[in-house]
Structures are given as C-alpha cells and as structure tokens.
C-alpha cells in the first residue's frame, strides 16, 4: 500500500484482508466437501438399494444374520452387525465404518494441508504480513473447516433423506439426518485433530503422520472392543467407537454426541491457543535445529531414501506389528464364529484349514491394504524429490536417472517384502499367544502373499511417475482407493465380476484360509515389474518437472 491512499482505503482493505484466510480456505474445503458428500451419499444409496434387491425374502435375510450377525472377526474389522435383517441396519453396518474412516483420512489430509501445508509453503507469511494475527488466522481456518463440514453434512444428508423417501428403503427424514450426523462425526473429529497436530509438528508430513497415528490407535482400540472379548466398554474409549455407539437408524443414541462434540471443541480451542503461542513456521514440540552427523546411510540415493523415510517406515512397521498381534490374538474367536455355520465348516475341513486360519485369511486383507499405502507412499516420496528440485542436486552429479529411480524401486520393493514378513510374523506371534494352533511357516507365507498387490501398485505408480509425473500421486492413490472400495463393497452384495477383477486385492488368494495362488501372484509381480520398467524408460526420455 502506498502512502497516498485515501483515508477510507485502509479500512476497506483491512476488512477484506481480515477474513482472507477464512475465505480462501473455505472455498477449497467446501468444494472438496461437496464432492465427498456426493460420493458418500451415492455409496449409501448403492449399498441399501443392492441389499433391498438382493435380499428380498425374510429367509435370505435370516441366513445373512446367521452368517455375519455374530461373527467376531468381521465385527472386529468393520464393526458389529446390528439388525442386518433390515435395510436400515444393513446399510449402517456396511457404510458407517467405511465412510467414517474414508472421511477421517479426508479430514486429516485437508486439516493438515490447509494449515501446516500452506504455512510450510510460505503462503501464510504473505497473509500474516497484513493485519491478521496468527491466532486470528487459525480461528478463521477453523471457521472455514466448519463450513466445509456443514457442506459435507448437507450434501450427504440431502442424498440420504431423498433415498429414505424411496419405497425400497423407506426411512424417516429425522433418522436419515441423524445417520448423516454420524457419518460426518468421524471426519469432523479427525479434521480438527489434523488442525491440532499442524500446530504441534513442523512439517505437513509430520502433522499428517501424528493425526494418522491417532486414527490408527482409535481403529485398533475399536477392533478390540468389537471382537467379542468382553471388552465392549472400550468402545467408549475411542472416537471410532463413539460413532458406532450413535447407532443411527437402528437404536439412535444422541448421548454418544457428547464426547464427539467435546473432542471437536477442545481440539479446536487448543489449536487456536497454540497457534498464538508459537512462531510462524515453527512447531510447538521441541524441534532440534542442529545435530551430530549420522553418515551411515548417506553414501548414495538408496541410503538417502531409507534415511529420509525412516520415521515413516518405523510408523508403518509399528502399525503392522500392532495389527498383526491384534488380529492373531482374536483369530481363534473369529474362526469359531465362521465355522459355526455347518456348511462353511465342511468346506474348510475339506481344505484342511483351521478356524483361526479361515479367519486370518479374511483379516490379512488389511495388511495387503497397509502395504498398498506403503507402496503408494514410496511413489509419492520419489516424485516429491523431483518436484521440489532436490533431485537436481543428485542428477547433476555422476548419477544416471535409471540408477536413481532403479535404486528407489529396489528399496521400495525390499520395504514391501519386509513389511509382508513382519505382518506374517507378528500375526503368528499374536495367534500363538492365544494357542490358536497356527503354523509359523504358514503365516510367513501368508505374509508374503499380501505383498504382490502392493508390488503391482508400486509398478503402476512408477509408470505414472515416468509418463505423467504431475499425476503420479492422484493415479496411484486412485488405484488403491478404488481397489479398496471394490473389495469392501463386493464382500456381501453381488457385484459384477468384471468390476471385482479391477481390484488389485481381489487377485490375491485369501491365504491362509485358501491356498496361495502362485500363478496370480507371479502375474501381479511381473506386470508390476514391467510397468516399472516402462516407467523408468519414460523417465529417461523426459524433462525433469517441478510441481
């Protein structure tokens, strides 16, 4: 602003700039929220309408209850099947946990990207050079987030209310809206959690990591609570349990909104408080600005990759071990539930598979998904070396592009294999502690069996990095999320087998409950390797590209 501005100019400019954070953030959040709200609404509609058409007779619904109604293993994974003989009960069971977790991930990403991410990129410096205080800016961001959550609620709610009016589903508007509240509860809590960790950590990656760890722990506690071990009260100890306790459409319990609201309000207030206490760009937690050199890994690009990803990889390893121990320790109970159905028991007996193994076959899918995320993370990490310009410092030295990308791929593949073995081993330890009678060799093989889908994802990711670098994160995560949605959806209701086949996870046999499909695994690894090779070839022939 020049010195010759007219008297009223500073006032208008000030009023404009004083809400700039809220408006810029709000626009982005609301746009994204409306999109996801539509996805959520459509997902709920598909689940309920497919159920209404697939399970018309009371007999068919009773059979469903018998198979899944008291299955501790399934209940540990996606929540207890409550009143699934009704359209409403089934829809809630199939949708609530899935949408809560999807929404929570959305909340964490958006909560950290727009607070810590913008700050990291230095864009807040420009805004805060004006009249806005840090605390005011954080408050404005929270207001924008609230607008986004309202948009998510309105979009999802309208679609569910409309759905409820159809004769097939037939749900009252009040109930439908309470269901929408339950769906938005998870995203709200984790979005604010992301905003809070953005104040604690110093990079977006760290902030997202911390909030994700919170989500992982919430999920793990909910798993224990829902695995029929008499620890049902634990549900009140986890945000994901609170959402479950809301029991929309079946036995609505508004009391569960109390801890949810409390978490959102307290975390929001803490965010604003901490934002005013620290320097711009700095973290609240201690952050050492110097340290003694650790040169061990820093002899080349492979070591550098390991060194940079060490915190992330340790985090993933910890979650794999935690889930492995958990799944293993509830395998016996889960298996008993599965084999309580005489027809299924016969099938498994013929295959020579114990109840626990039958359960672990289903449960290890979660490990395949975790490794899929690890693979996608490796792809985006490699790409970000290029997009930030850091890669230039390496490639301007005597290091070829093929050598750099090749070594990154080898490191990533090694990490995935190690992750698979760790999954198998920790699950075996968990199962052995419960005397589930599961063999260690079987479990290590089952652990390796979950690796090929992630190798395929890695290969596809490298191909995109080579051919369309700016789309690498979007495409890689799209393949992953699509596969995951297909896998979850196709579990109970019938889905066209062509669609099911597009899921990378579907190509993997459910070891140890089914024999490992070596042909399919080989095909996945070979296709992944070929895609990676094509990606490397394309990477050699193109310009380095920034963001």
């Amino acid at each position: 602003m020049g010195a010759d501005v007219r008297p009223e100019a500073p006032f208008t400019a000030g009023a404009w700039s004083s809400t700039v954070v809220a408006r810029i953030t709000g626009r982005k959040v609301v746009r994204s929220a409306v999109g996801w709200g539509a996805v959520f609404g459509v997902y709920v509609a598909t689940q309920s309408l497919t159920y209404a058409t697939s399970y018309k007779s009371i007999a068919a619904r009773r059979l469903l209850v018998k198979e899944f109604g008291s299955n501790a293993g399934i209940s540990a994974l996606v929540g207890p099947a409550f009143r699934i003989d009704t359209v409403a009960g089934f829809t809630v069971w199939k949708c609530l946990t899935v949408l809560t977790i999807t929404g929570a991930v959305w909340g964490i990403l958006i909560g950290t990207r727009l607070l810590r991410g913008e700050e990291e990129a230095g864009r807040w410096e420009l805004l805060l050079a004006g009249r806005t205080t840090r605390r005011g800016a954080a408050l404005q961001a929270l207001v924008a987030y609230a607008a986004g959550l309202v948009a998510l609620f309105v979009t999802t709610g309208l679609l569910i209310v409309a759905l409820g009016r159809t004769s097939k589903v037939d749900v009252a508007a009040g109930g439908a809206l309470f269901f929408a509240v339950a769906i938005v509860a998870g995203p709200s809590m984790f979005l604010v959690a992301g905003a809070l960790t953005s104040q604690l950590a110093s990079t977006r990656r760290q902030a997202a990591g911390a909030a994700s760890a919170f989500l992982g722990a919430s999920y793990a506690i909910r798993m224990v609570a829902d695995s029929d071990t008499g620890l049902g009260w634990l549900r009140w100890a986890t945000p994901l349990g609170w959402v479950e306790e809301m029991k929309p459409l079946t036995a609505p319990n508004p009391l569960a909104l109390v801890p949810i609201t409390a978490l959102v309000v307290v975390a929001g207030l803490l965010t604003v408080y901490l934002a005013g206490r620290r320097d711009l760009g700095a973290s609240t937690l201690p952050d050492h600005s110097s340290s003694r050199p650790h040169l061990g890994l820093l002899s080349g690009p492979a070591g550098l990759a390991l060194r940079l990803m060490r915190p992330t990889l340790l985090g993933w390893a910890a979650s794999i071990v935690a889930y492995g121990l958990l799944l293993g320790s509830i395998a016996k109970a889960g298996g008993q539930a599965i084999t309580s159905s005489p027809s299924l028991r016969l099938v498994f007996e013929r295959l020579g598979v114990s109840g626990a193994e039958a359960y672990l076959g289903v449960a290890l899918l979660i490990m395949a998904v975790v490794l899929g995320f690890v693979a996608a993370g490796q792809v985006t990490a490699a790409r970000s070396e290029e997009s930030t310009g850091r890669l230039e410092h390496l490639l301007a030295r005597p290091l070829s592009r093929v050598s750099w990308l090749g070594r990154r791929i080898v490191v990533a593949a090694g990490v995935l294999v190690a992750g698979g073995l760790l999954a198998g081993l920790s699950t075996w330890v968990g199962a052995a502690s419960d005397h589930a009678g599961v063999d260690i060799t079987t479990m290590l093989q089952a652990g390796l069996n979950v690796v090929p889908p992630s190798v395929l994802i890695l290969g596809i990711g490298v191909l995109v990095v080579g051919a369309r670098p700016r789309m690498s994160a979007a495409v890689t995560y799209a393949v992953l999320v699509w596969s995951l949605l297909v896998e979850i959806t196709s579990g109970v209701v019938g889905v066209n087998h062509w669609i099911i086949d597009t899921s990378v996870f579907h190509q993997m046999a459910a070891a140890p409950s089914a024999p490992i499909d070596w042909t399919s695994n080989t095909v996945m690894v070979v296709v992944g390797a070929l895609a990676a090779l094509a990606g490397v070839a394309a990477f050699r022939r193109r310009d380095l590209q920034g963001e």
Binding site: H288, P293, S299, R390, H393, A396, R397, L544
Partner: protein, 320 residues
C-alpha cells in the same frame, strides 16, 4: 600487454583442446513457447564465460539442457566432447553445478549434506572443503531446515567447489549472499580460473560478471543476441556523453547517432553510436562549459539491450 599475451595463449589453447562446453543449434520449446532457439555457444577450457539476460530469457533452460535435466527439442550440446543427453554420467564426472534455488533435504545437517553430495560426486578435495567451510562461515552441525536462504546457497556452493571440477556451471549462484560472502565467492572463482577450471556463470549481478568473466553472452527471448569480451561489447554499443551549458540547452534529439537524450536543467545526458562528429558539430558554439564522455558499464550495456524494447515472458515453466 601481459593480459593480451595471456589471452592469445588462451585462444591457441582453445583451438587445440576440446572445449568445456559446445552447443550446436541447441533448441528447446515447452509446448508453444520457444525457450531457446538455435543456440551456438562455446566455452573454452579454462575460460570464464558469463551469461546475462532478463528473467525468462532462457538462461536456466540452457543450463538445464547442458546438465541433461531437460531433453533438447533440437540440436545438441557437448561437455568436453561428451553428449549432454546421452553421456550424462561421464560428462558429470567433470563438472559441478550450483542451482539458483537451493532446495535441499530439510532434515539433513550441513555436514551430512556435504557428505552425501560428495559421495554421489565420487571425489572431493577434503582440505579445500575445509577451507571453503571456513571461508563461507558455515555451521556444519546445523540442519538445513534451520538455515537461511543465503546459508543454503553457501552450502551448495561449497558442495560444488569442493570437488574441484574441470567445469563449474553456476546458475545465479550468489542470490541471497551478503557482500562479504559475495567477496568470498569471487575469490573462489579467481582460484578456479588460476587452476584452469572453466566456468559458465549465469547472473543478474552485472558487476560480478564484469569482474569475473573473460567473455559475456547476452540471451534474449531464447536467442544469444551478443557474445564477446567486454572490449568487443563496448565497441558494439554506444558511449555516454554528458554536457553542461552556460546558456540555453540546444535540441540534440535530431543529431544523427544520438539517442536517449535527457535534459536536467542546464545539463544534457545522451548516448552516441558510431561517429561522435555530428554531435561535436552540434555542440560547437552553443556554450559548452563541461563535457564528459565515458564507456558504458555492463549495466548500461544491458539496459541498452533490454531497456527500450519490452520483452515477452519466455522460458521454462519450471522457473527458467
């Protein structure tokens, strides 16, 4: 005389040995934007060449092509006779590069970064590295995250210089450096020149290029519009005349060869191209009290090339 002898020796040497950099009709376009057009450039062994041009003139594009980070749309480039695109690893063994923007790994410390980059380079002069760390006043235990922009720039300068490469490619290497560090940088380039290292220096700091470089090239809209020694460039361009008058200031704007006439009270400032005679004739008898004439600085040469005509934004979309 000594300088002349040195230069002719250099000329002879250049003809005998392979040039450090040679490009043949090197071109690059990004979509419809032509960032570099049919560029022919040669940097001899032991020669220090400066590269000037406004933002988006194609300086960074040229450097990124030489490093094999970009793939040429046409023509080719060579580093010591090695193809920039096909023989990158061999070529890079003999060069070091300093980027204009030092985006490094924030969690590594200064000494870790130097170790890593040295390992990837393959050879380092450890004694010289220690001298450089001292000279640039770097705190090696600091994490990159905690460094200022200037300090990060110093870090990548040290990382490049410590390998004692045959060729230094520097893309605005002193952005963010304070005058003291700028001095240290000039000392390093002087040392490199004495050791017979070649340098390609792209810069905005004209005085720096003027002092350091044997030859200077000017890029404009992807075309090398001028290249030569300072002496040759001066010859091509105008010189400045300032005259102060006792009486009325005569109108000089119509005099042949005179341009950019500025009247400041009783004084006139103008540029003269070609013969000075028409101007002298116009001034004669108009009561000149003072007459000053001097060679233009590089800054003025630069403005003469770019000041008048508006330049379109051309260059790498990645910040060329």
């Amino acid at each position: 005389m000594g300088r002349f002898a040195q230069r002719s020796l250099l000329e002879r040497g250049r003809r005998l040995s392979t040039p450090a950099i040679r490009t043949f009709a090197l071109s690059k376009h990004f979509g419809a934007t032509q960032a570099l057009r049919d560029l022919d450039l040669e940097v001899g062994e032991g020669e220090v060449v400066g590269c000037l041009g406004p933002n988006g003139a194609g300086k960074t594009t040229l450097i990124r092509l030489l490093l094999g980070l970009l793939i040429p749309s046409g023509g080719r480039g060579e580093i010591f006779g090695l193809d920039c695109h096909r023989q990158t690893v061999e070529a890079h063994r003999r060069l070091a590069y300093v980027a204009g923007e030092a985006s490094l790994w924030p969690t590594l410390t200064v000494s870790e970064t130097l170790h890593l980059l040295g390992q990837v380079q393959g050879h380092v002069d450890p004694d010289y590295r220690d001298v450089l760390v001292e000279r640039f006043d770097l705190d090696v235990s600091k994490k990159v995250r905690a460094l200022s922009k200037g300090n990060r720039q110093k870090l990548i300068l040290v990382a490049a210089l410590m390998t004692r490469p045959d060729l230094l490619i520097l893309d605005e290497p002193t952005s963010g450096l304070d005058p003291l560090m700028e001095q240290a940088f000039r000392k390093c380039i002087g040392e490199a020149r004495e050791r017979g290292q070649s340098v390609l220096l792209s810069s905005h700091i004209l005085s720096e290029v003027e002092v350091l470089c044997d030859r200077i090239g000017i890029l404009r809209e992807g075309v090398l519009v001028e290249i030569g020694t300072m002496a040759q460039m001066r010859h091509l361009s105008a010189f400045l005349v300032e005259a102060t008058f006792d009486g009325a200031v005569p109108d000089l704007s119509q005099v042949p060869g005179v341009s950019m006439v500025e009247v400041l009270g009783a004084a006139v400032k103008c540029q003269v191209r070609g013969s000075v005679e028409p101007l002298l004739r116009a001034l004669a008898g108009s009561g000149v009290r003072e007459l000053l004439s001097r060679e233009p600085s590089l800054e003025e040469l630069f403005l003469a090339h770019y000041g008048a005509a508006p330049t379109r934004e051309i260059g790498s979309p990645d910040g060329g």
